[in-house]
Protein backbone atom coordinates (compact mmCIF):
# COMPACT_ATOMS: atom_id res chain seq x y z
CA UNK A 1 0.00 0.00 0.00
CA UNK A 2 1.41 3.37 -0.93
CA UNK A 3 0.52 6.84 0.21
CA UNK A 4 0.91 9.82 -2.07
CA UNK A 5 1.24 13.30 -0.72
CA UNK A 6 -0.79 15.95 -2.46
CA UNK A 7 1.45 17.82 -4.89
CA UNK A 8 0.15 21.16 -3.67
CA UNK A 9 1.45 20.37 -0.21
CA UNK A 10 4.89 19.49 -1.55
CA UNK A 11 5.03 22.60 -3.69
CA UNK A 12 3.95 24.78 -0.78
CA UNK A 13 6.62 23.26 1.41
CA UNK A 14 9.40 23.76 -1.15
CA UNK A 15 8.35 27.32 -1.74
CA UNK A 16 8.27 28.00 1.96
CA UNK A 17 11.79 26.58 2.32
CA UNK A 18 13.15 28.62 -0.55
CA UNK A 19 11.52 31.79 0.76
CA UNK A 20 12.85 31.36 4.29
CA UNK A 21 15.66 33.81 5.02
CA UNK A 22 18.95 32.19 5.97
CA UNK A 23 19.57 32.26 9.72
CA UNK A 24 21.56 35.21 11.01
CA UNK A 25 25.08 34.80 12.36
CA UNK A 26 23.74 35.39 15.86
CA UNK A 27 21.17 32.60 15.46
CA UNK A 28 23.92 30.28 14.27
CA UNK A 29 26.03 31.25 17.27
CA UNK A 30 23.14 30.37 19.58
CA UNK A 31 22.62 27.04 17.81
CA UNK A 32 26.35 26.25 18.11
CA UNK A 33 26.28 26.99 21.83
CA UNK A 34 23.35 24.57 22.13
CA UNK A 35 25.58 21.91 20.56
CA UNK A 36 24.70 22.09 16.88
CA UNK A 37 27.97 21.56 15.00
CA UNK A 38 26.34 22.06 11.61
CA UNK A 39 25.51 25.64 12.64
CA UNK A 40 29.17 26.29 13.30
CA UNK A 41 30.04 24.71 9.94
CA UNK A 42 27.67 27.20 8.32
CA UNK A 43 29.38 30.06 10.17
CA UNK A 44 32.74 28.84 8.87
CA UNK A 45 31.38 28.58 5.32
CA UNK A 46 30.22 32.18 5.51
CA UNK A 47 33.38 33.71 6.92
CA UNK A 48 36.28 31.49 5.88
CA UNK A 49 37.07 33.45 2.71
CA UNK A 50 37.75 36.60 4.72
CA UNK A 51 39.82 34.73 7.30
CA UNK A 52 41.88 32.99 4.62
CA UNK A 53 42.42 36.27 2.84
CA UNK A 54 43.79 37.84 6.04
CA UNK A 55 45.91 34.77 6.80
CA UNK A 56 47.41 34.79 3.31
CA UNK A 57 49.02 38.16 4.08
CA UNK A 58 51.16 36.56 6.77
CA UNK A 59 51.55 32.92 5.78
CA UNK A 60 54.29 31.80 3.46
CA UNK A 61 52.55 28.69 2.21
CA UNK A 62 49.18 26.96 2.11
CA UNK A 63 49.97 24.86 5.15
CA UNK A 64 50.62 27.92 7.32
CA UNK A 65 47.52 29.61 5.95
CA UNK A 66 45.42 26.61 6.89
CA UNK A 67 46.97 26.54 10.36
CA UNK A 68 46.12 30.19 11.00
CA UNK A 69 42.55 29.82 9.71
CA UNK A 70 41.97 26.71 11.82
CA UNK A 71 43.34 28.47 14.88
CA UNK A 72 40.96 31.39 14.29
CA UNK A 73 37.86 29.19 14.13
CA UNK A 74 38.91 26.96 17.02
CA UNK A 75 39.42 30.06 19.18
CA UNK A 76 36.08 31.43 18.02
CA UNK A 77 34.35 28.17 18.87
CA UNK A 78 35.88 28.06 22.34
CA UNK A 79 34.94 31.67 23.07
CA UNK A 80 31.47 31.79 21.52
CA UNK A 81 29.92 32.34 24.92
CA UNK A 82 31.98 35.53 25.26
CA UNK A 83 30.56 36.92 22.03
CA UNK A 84 28.58 40.00 23.00
CA UNK A 85 26.07 41.07 20.42
CA UNK A 86 27.04 44.76 20.54
CA UNK A 87 29.01 44.33 17.30
CA UNK A 88 28.48 42.01 14.32
CA UNK A 89 29.96 38.52 14.48
CA UNK A 90 32.22 39.45 11.57
CA UNK A 91 33.96 42.18 13.60
CA UNK A 92 34.43 39.86 16.55
CA UNK A 93 35.93 37.25 14.23
CA UNK A 94 38.24 39.88 12.70
CA UNK A 95 39.68 40.63 16.14
CA UNK A 96 40.33 36.94 16.69
CA UNK A 97 41.93 36.73 13.24
CA UNK A 98 44.30 39.61 13.96
CA UNK A 99 45.20 38.10 17.31
CA UNK A 100 45.87 34.69 15.75
CA UNK A 101 47.99 36.26 12.98
CA UNK A 102 50.02 38.20 15.55
CA UNK A 103 50.63 35.04 17.57
CA UNK A 104 51.64 33.28 14.37
CA UNK A 105 54.19 36.02 13.59
CA UNK A 106 55.66 35.77 17.08
CA UNK A 107 55.97 31.98 16.79
CA UNK A 108 57.51 32.35 13.38
CA UNK A 109 60.09 34.78 14.68
CA UNK A 110 61.14 32.37 17.42
CA UNK A 111 61.29 29.60 14.87
CA UNK A 112 63.27 31.73 12.46
CA UNK A 113 65.80 32.66 15.12
CA UNK A 114 66.63 29.01 15.71
CA UNK A 115 66.70 27.87 12.11
CA UNK A 116 68.67 28.99 9.14
CA UNK A 117 67.20 31.64 6.91
CA UNK A 118 66.27 30.08 3.64
CA UNK A 119 64.89 33.26 2.18
CA UNK A 120 66.20 34.41 -1.13
CA UNK A 121 68.46 37.39 -0.66
CA UNK A 122 67.58 40.21 -2.99
CA UNK A 123 70.22 42.54 -4.26
CA UNK A 124 68.44 45.86 -4.35
CA UNK A 125 71.12 47.62 -6.31
CA UNK A 126 70.49 45.12 -9.04
CA UNK A 127 67.91 46.36 -11.52
CA UNK A 128 66.49 42.84 -11.60
CA UNK A 129 64.55 43.73 -8.46
CA UNK A 130 62.51 45.98 -10.71
CA UNK A 131 61.82 43.05 -12.96
CA UNK A 132 60.97 40.89 -9.96
CA UNK A 133 58.33 43.39 -8.96
CA UNK A 134 57.13 43.68 -12.51
CA UNK A 135 56.92 39.92 -12.80
CA UNK A 136 54.41 39.77 -9.98
CA UNK A 137 56.89 38.58 -7.42
CA UNK A 138 56.41 41.67 -5.30
CA UNK A 139 54.86 39.61 -2.55
CA UNK A 140 57.96 37.43 -2.36
CA UNK A 141 60.26 40.46 -2.17
CA UNK A 142 58.01 42.11 0.41
CA UNK A 143 57.75 39.02 2.59
CA UNK A 144 61.53 38.66 2.40
CA UNK A 145 61.94 42.24 3.65
CA UNK A 146 59.22 41.82 6.27
CA UNK A 147 61.08 38.95 7.84
CA UNK A 148 63.65 41.42 9.13
CA UNK A 149 60.96 43.30 11.04
CA UNK A 150 59.45 42.60 14.44
CA UNK A 151 56.05 40.86 14.59
CA UNK A 152 54.18 44.01 15.64
CA UNK A 153 55.81 45.95 12.79
CA UNK A 154 54.78 43.30 10.28
CA UNK A 155 51.25 43.30 11.66
CA UNK A 156 50.83 47.06 11.62
CA UNK A 157 52.30 47.43 8.12
CA UNK A 158 49.95 44.78 6.81
CA UNK A 159 46.87 46.27 8.43
CA UNK A 160 47.64 49.92 7.69
CA UNK A 161 49.58 49.84 4.44
CA UNK A 162 48.43 46.73 2.59
CA UNK A 163 44.86 46.34 3.84
CA UNK A 164 44.60 50.15 4.07
CA UNK A 165 42.40 49.98 7.14
CA UNK A 166 41.64 53.23 8.99
CA UNK A 167 43.66 53.92 12.13
CA UNK A 168 40.56 53.64 14.32
CA UNK A 169 39.76 50.18 12.96
CA UNK A 170 43.34 49.01 13.43
CA UNK A 171 43.20 50.29 17.00
CA UNK A 172 40.02 48.29 17.62
CA UNK A 173 41.45 45.16 16.04
CA UNK A 174 44.74 45.25 17.88
CA UNK A 175 43.59 46.72 21.17
CA UNK A 176 46.23 49.46 20.91
CA UNK A 177 45.36 53.14 21.21
CA UNK A 178 45.04 55.20 18.02
CA UNK A 179 48.12 57.24 18.93
CA UNK A 180 50.04 54.05 19.53
CA UNK A 181 48.96 52.66 16.15
CA UNK A 182 50.16 55.83 14.40
CA UNK A 183 53.53 55.73 16.12
CA UNK A 184 53.97 52.02 15.45
CA UNK A 185 52.98 52.40 11.80
CA UNK A 186 55.50 55.22 11.35
CA UNK A 187 58.27 53.21 13.02
CA UNK A 188 57.42 50.08 11.06
CA UNK A 189 57.69 51.97 7.80
CA UNK A 190 61.03 53.41 8.92
CA UNK A 191 62.27 49.93 9.84
CA UNK A 192 61.27 48.59 6.43
CA UNK A 193 63.08 51.49 4.77
CA UNK A 194 66.12 50.68 6.88
CA UNK A 195 66.07 47.07 5.69
CA UNK A 196 66.19 48.20 2.08
CA UNK A 197 68.88 50.80 2.77
CA UNK A 198 71.06 48.29 4.64
CA UNK A 199 70.79 45.78 1.85
CA UNK A 200 71.42 48.39 -0.78
CA UNK A 201 74.62 49.43 1.02
CA UNK A 202 75.71 45.84 1.53
Amino acid sequence: MTFALPLSLLVDKTEAMSDAAPPSDEALVDATIRGDDSAFAELMRRHKRRVFSAASRFARDDHQMDDIAQEVFVRAFKNLRNFRRDAPFEHWLSRITVSACYDFLRRERRHRDTTSLEAVEYDLSDPSVESEIAAGRAREVLSWAMRFLRPEEQLILTLCEIDERPIREVAELTGWSEANVKVRAFRARASLRQVFEDHAEA
Binding site: M44, K48, F52, M65, F73, V74, F77, E164, L192, E197
Partner: protein, 101 residues
Protein backbone atom coordinates in the same frame (compact mmCIF):
# COMPACT_ATOMS: atom_id res chain seq x y z
CA UNK B 1 68.99 52.88 -8.30
CA UNK B 2 65.43 53.63 -7.07
CA UNK B 3 64.94 55.10 -3.61
CA UNK B 4 63.88 52.69 -0.85
CA UNK B 5 60.63 54.60 -0.38
CA UNK B 6 59.78 54.16 -4.04
CA UNK B 7 60.51 50.46 -3.84
CA UNK B 8 58.39 50.13 -0.71
CA UNK B 9 55.49 52.00 -2.30
CA UNK B 10 55.60 49.82 -5.38
CA UNK B 11 55.85 46.63 -3.32
CA UNK B 12 52.93 47.64 -1.14
CA UNK B 13 50.85 48.62 -4.15
CA UNK B 14 51.55 45.27 -5.78
CA UNK B 15 50.65 43.46 -2.56
CA UNK B 16 47.41 45.44 -2.40
CA UNK B 17 46.52 44.57 -5.97
CA UNK B 18 47.19 40.91 -5.47
CA UNK B 19 44.10 38.83 -4.75
CA UNK B 20 45.30 35.51 -3.35
CA UNK B 21 43.56 32.38 -4.54
CA UNK B 22 42.74 30.46 -1.38
CA UNK B 23 40.12 28.13 -2.87
CA UNK B 24 42.48 25.14 -2.77
CA UNK B 25 43.07 25.49 0.98
CA UNK B 26 39.43 26.23 1.64
CA UNK B 27 38.40 22.83 0.32
CA UNK B 28 36.85 20.70 3.12
CA UNK B 29 37.98 23.26 5.66
CA UNK B 30 34.83 22.91 7.80
CA UNK B 31 35.33 19.15 8.00
CA UNK B 32 38.92 19.56 9.18
CA UNK B 33 38.02 22.09 11.86
CA UNK B 34 35.06 20.07 13.15
CA UNK B 35 37.25 16.95 13.29
CA UNK B 36 39.83 18.90 15.28
CA UNK B 37 37.18 20.18 17.67
CA UNK B 38 35.79 16.67 18.20
CA UNK B 39 39.30 15.40 18.88
CA UNK B 40 39.91 18.18 21.40
CA UNK B 41 36.60 17.41 23.11
CA UNK B 42 37.52 13.74 23.52
CA UNK B 43 40.73 14.76 25.21
CA UNK B 44 38.82 17.19 27.41
CA UNK B 45 38.61 15.01 30.52
CA UNK B 46 42.28 14.09 30.42
CA UNK B 47 43.18 17.74 29.91
CA UNK B 48 41.05 18.77 32.88
CA UNK B 49 42.71 16.09 35.01
CA UNK B 50 46.10 17.52 34.09
CA UNK B 51 44.92 21.05 34.78
CA UNK B 52 43.62 20.05 38.18
CA UNK B 53 46.78 18.12 39.08
CA UNK B 54 48.55 21.18 40.60
CA UNK B 55 45.45 21.94 42.67
CA UNK B 56 45.36 18.42 44.11
CA UNK B 57 49.12 18.48 44.70
CA UNK B 58 48.72 21.75 46.62
CA UNK B 59 45.82 20.26 48.56
CA UNK B 60 47.92 17.25 49.58
CA UNK B 61 50.74 19.57 50.65
CA UNK B 62 48.40 21.74 52.75
CA UNK B 63 46.90 18.63 54.36
CA UNK B 64 50.40 17.38 55.13
CA UNK B 65 51.46 20.66 56.71
CA UNK B 66 48.24 20.83 58.72
CA UNK B 67 48.66 17.28 59.92
CA UNK B 68 52.24 17.98 60.90
CA UNK B 69 51.27 21.17 62.75
CA UNK B 70 48.54 19.27 64.57
CA UNK B 71 50.98 16.53 65.61
CA UNK B 72 53.50 19.11 66.82
CA UNK B 73 50.77 20.66 68.97
CA UNK B 74 49.88 17.22 70.37
CA UNK B 75 53.53 16.51 71.07
CA UNK B 76 53.87 19.79 72.99
CA UNK B 77 50.73 18.99 75.01
CA UNK B 78 52.03 15.50 75.75
CA UNK B 79 55.29 16.93 77.09
CA UNK B 80 53.37 19.32 79.36
CA UNK B 81 51.13 16.51 80.64
CA UNK B 82 54.15 14.28 81.25
CA UNK B 83 55.84 17.06 83.25
CA UNK B 84 52.66 17.66 85.27
CA UNK B 85 52.29 13.95 86.01
CA UNK B 86 55.92 13.74 87.06
CA UNK B 87 55.69 16.76 89.40
CA UNK B 88 52.17 16.33 90.82
CA UNK B 89 51.00 12.74 90.20
CA UNK B 90 48.52 12.84 93.09
CA UNK B 91 46.74 15.93 91.77
CA UNK B 92 46.47 14.50 88.26
CA UNK B 93 45.07 11.24 89.62
CA UNK B 94 42.60 13.17 91.78
CA UNK B 95 41.44 15.32 88.85
CA UNK B 96 41.01 12.23 86.69
CA UNK B 97 38.88 10.58 89.36
CA UNK B 98 36.81 13.72 89.80
CA UNK B 99 36.63 14.11 86.00
CA UNK B 100 37.87 17.68 86.16
CA UNK B 101 39.11 19.33 82.97
Amino acid sequence: MPKPDDIIDRLLQSARDEVPDTSRVEFAFETRVLARLREERSFGIAAWAWRLAPFFAALVMVAGVWERADTTHLQATAVLVADAVREHPDRILLSLVRQEP
